[in-house]
């Protein structure tokens, strides 16, 4: 599983790409073992998550158990022991950044990232979607890496708005990063949030959007277009920068953007079958990969073996 192949020039960008590839491999392996998984999300966002956790985010070491503990019950006055999965992103210090993970259907990618960046044990993924585990299929706030509940898509950005508003009031230096998916722009609430962010100059917010062009029913352009997305966000008062979602350098550079009192949106254009060409055969429906028969599953197994051997 470990990628032992040494790269001749060991730049941080190469390291990010290696981690991203390992995220894909881990998600593919999981998908094969479980006969299903959110594969295209890993293909499109692996570099975004890898760059977040190794280069962009100013966060502390995980303060959560390396092997996730069993689910301890829902929050409430009778359950004071409830903790969020935000502990995997370290303590909430004033100077530290926060990562608000909005599209919970990407949870598998987030878990794989936590493993590949040393924040969670590989055993954590074995608990994925197992009864009594916090490593849920569509993560909630007790799931590793999550600090809010946003499985209802389009509800995460507003929660981040509240957190960013509070941090600004408190004079905290840390920024609020949001990971958003492009399908979420269908929800009116996202636009309410952007209007509020720009009206209140929430320049401590920086939102990375995985523009993979996919939603549950297929291509966003077929279901309901969100374009021209740059113009739309700009018109709402956001500062927009478009990058290649598979280029760690571009992803990182965007995080340094001087924001001029505006909330920043990094539109990260991605390929939903990046690193796994086989998946393109399923287009335009890529939301969830469940093998139709053994023949198809074997093709993916072969591809997994090839990727693991090539260390890609």
């Amino acid at each position: 599983m470990k990628n032992e192949i040494q790269n001749p020039i060991k730049t941080w960008e190469n390291e990010v790409i290696e981690i991203a590839n390992r995220i894909r491999i881990r998600v593919l392996e999981h998908t094969i073992n479980n006969n299903g998984g959110y594969m295209s999300q890993a293909c499109s966002s692996a570099e975004i998550f890898a760059t977040f956790y190794t280069k962009i985010l100013n966060i502390g070491e995980s303060i959560a158990p390396f092997i996730p503990e069993p689910f301890k019950g829902v929050p409430g006055i009778y359950n004071p022991n409830y903790e969020t999965g935000g502990l995997y992103n370290g303590p909430k210090n004033n100077d530290f950044d926060r990562l608000i993970f909005s599209p919970s259907h990407y949870a598998l990618v987030l878990y794989a990232t936590l493993i590949e960046t040393g924040r969670m044990s590989p055993e954590g993924l074995a608990q994925f979607n197992q009864d009594g585990s916090t490593v849920e299929m569509i993560g909630a706030e007790h799931s590793p890496g999550c600090e809010i509940t946003s499985g209802s898509l389009g509800t995460g950005l507003s929660q981040a708005v509240g957190i960013a508003t509070a941090r600004k009031r408190n004079g905290e230096k840390g920024r609020v990063f949001v990971f958003l998916s492009d399908g979420e722009f269908h929800e009116g609430q996202v636009w309410e949030a952007i209007a509020f962010m720009s009206h209140n100059s929430l320049d401590n917010m920086i939102t990375y959007v995985d523009i993979n062009g996919q939603c549950c029913d297929g291509r966003i352009d077929d279901v309901m277009t969100i374009d021209p997305i740059e113009d739309r966000i700009t018109a709402f008062g956001g500062e927009v920068v478009s990058v290649n979602a598979h280029d760690p350098g571009e992803l990182y550079k965007a995080s340094l953007l001087s924001n001029k009192g505006k909330p920043v949106f990094v539109l990260s254009y991605s390929n939903p079958t990046q690193g796994l060409d086989l998946l393109a055969n399923r287009a335009p429906k890529l939301h969830y990969l469940r093998f139709q028969n053994d023949e198809e599953k074997n093709l993916y197994k072969k591809e997994l073996n090839r990727l693991m051997l090539s260390g890609k």
Binding site: G151, S158, Q159, T165, A166
Partner: protein, 335 residues
């Protein structure tokens, strides 16, 4: 009966003075929900969200996670109808201390069905972690803030504005999950909430004068609904139990009492006065209370039905109803 005007507006300013952690959130209904004085007094603690309740509720969740106490103010309908998903996922599930002040409960507005919150208690009562309360007079408006601020979790408040009567002594503040005993008796038990308490009081004394004893409890906490006084009152009832609420009879106070009766195996007849599974329409409060039989007259009729005889109460024996002007100095210019 003393009438008070814009009591909440003044009380909130006074109460929040030394509480920097209390933020007031508005969705473009600032004077209509009596938070205009707060806005003027503490502009830095006033957050304007515009007509965008989903974002407001989500952001309230985020603010609460960082240690603030967001006090959301808008018309009740716009809270639970517009932002239910956000109430669930961004506030109630994480049990965050967001306070929802919902104005214009039931048929109190001529704004019609889009503005009349007739099923809010039913809906909010079903939300885990949610506390649901309703004020019925000036004393409760004055004393509710301390009580709900102490709740570790979200609270939904059915709120009154404008001209409000004082029914209960100032010395007897609002207490969470504690019914107010307004009269004792065992012929009939009467549970009333919100404005229906004032309405019932127009005639309960006259009924008692006819020799019918009434155990009358004013309910200001819909959830939790575990005050032992409720069960005790049901148990000692001889003839029947009546609930009276400014709300649909499905899922609100009447249903909560029915649950207590059924779970305790109490075989008493229950009459639910309220909107009988119907929407209302835009008209004055007094008109709608009569039309939908939420008024004192309806209470008398239902008592008579339980007794199986007429009480022969003359309409002149009723205490006169209090008619609020649709437009007055006590209200914002807009609805």
């Amino acid at each position: 009966m003393e009438i008070y005007t814009k009591l909440y507006a003044r009380k909130l300013v006074e109460w929040a003075k030394d509480k920097p952690e209390v933020l007031v959130l508005s969705a473009d209904l600032t004077s209509s929900t009596e938070i205009d004085l707060f806005k003027n007094e503490y502009p830095n603690r006033f957050l304007s969200f515009g007509l965008a309740e989903q974002n407001m509720v989500g952001a309230a969740g985020g603010l609460a996670r960082e240690g603030y106490y967001p006090y959301i103010h808008t018309f009740a309908v716009f809270i639970y109808r517009r932002a239910y998903d956000q109430i669930i996922g961004s506030v109630a599930y994480p049990n965050l201390p967001v306070r929802f002040f919902g104005f214009l409960p039931g048929i109190m507005t001529p704004g019609g069905i889009t503005h009349q919150a007739i099923e809010d208690v039913a809906i909010m009562r079903t939300v885990p972690n949610m506390t649901v309360v309703e004020v019925g007079d000036a004393t409760e408006i004055e004393t509710i803030l301390d009580e709900i601020q102490a709740v570790n979790g979200p609270v939904y408040v059915r709120m009154l504005r404008g001209e409000v009567p004082r029914l209960f002594p100032s010395s007897e503040p609002f207490k969470l999950n504690k019914a107010r005993l307004l009269s004792e008796g065992n012929d009939i038990t009467l549970f009333t909430s919100g404005i229906c308490t004032e309405e019932a009081l127009r005639v309960t004394q006259v009924i008692r004068q006819k020799g019918i004893s009434i155990q009358h409890l004013h309910i200001s906490t819909h959830k939790p609904f575990t005050d032992p006084q409720i069960l005790e009152a049901c148990l000692k009832t001889e003839l029947g139990i009546i609930t009276m609420e400014n709300h649909t009879i499905v899922g609100g106070l009447g249903s909560a009492v029915a649950e207590v009766l059924a779970e305790n195996g109490i075989g008493r007849k229950l009459v639910r006065i309220g909107l009988k599974d119907t929407f209302a329409h835009g008209a004055s409060q007094a008109y709608l209370m009569r039309e939908y039989e939420l008024d004192a007259l309806s209470l008398v009729k239902n008592v008579e039905n339980l007794l199986g005889k007429k009480l022969n109460i003359d309409i002149n024996d009723y205490q006169s109803e209090r008619i609020q002007a649709t437009h007055s100095e006590a209200k914002a210019e807009a609805l």
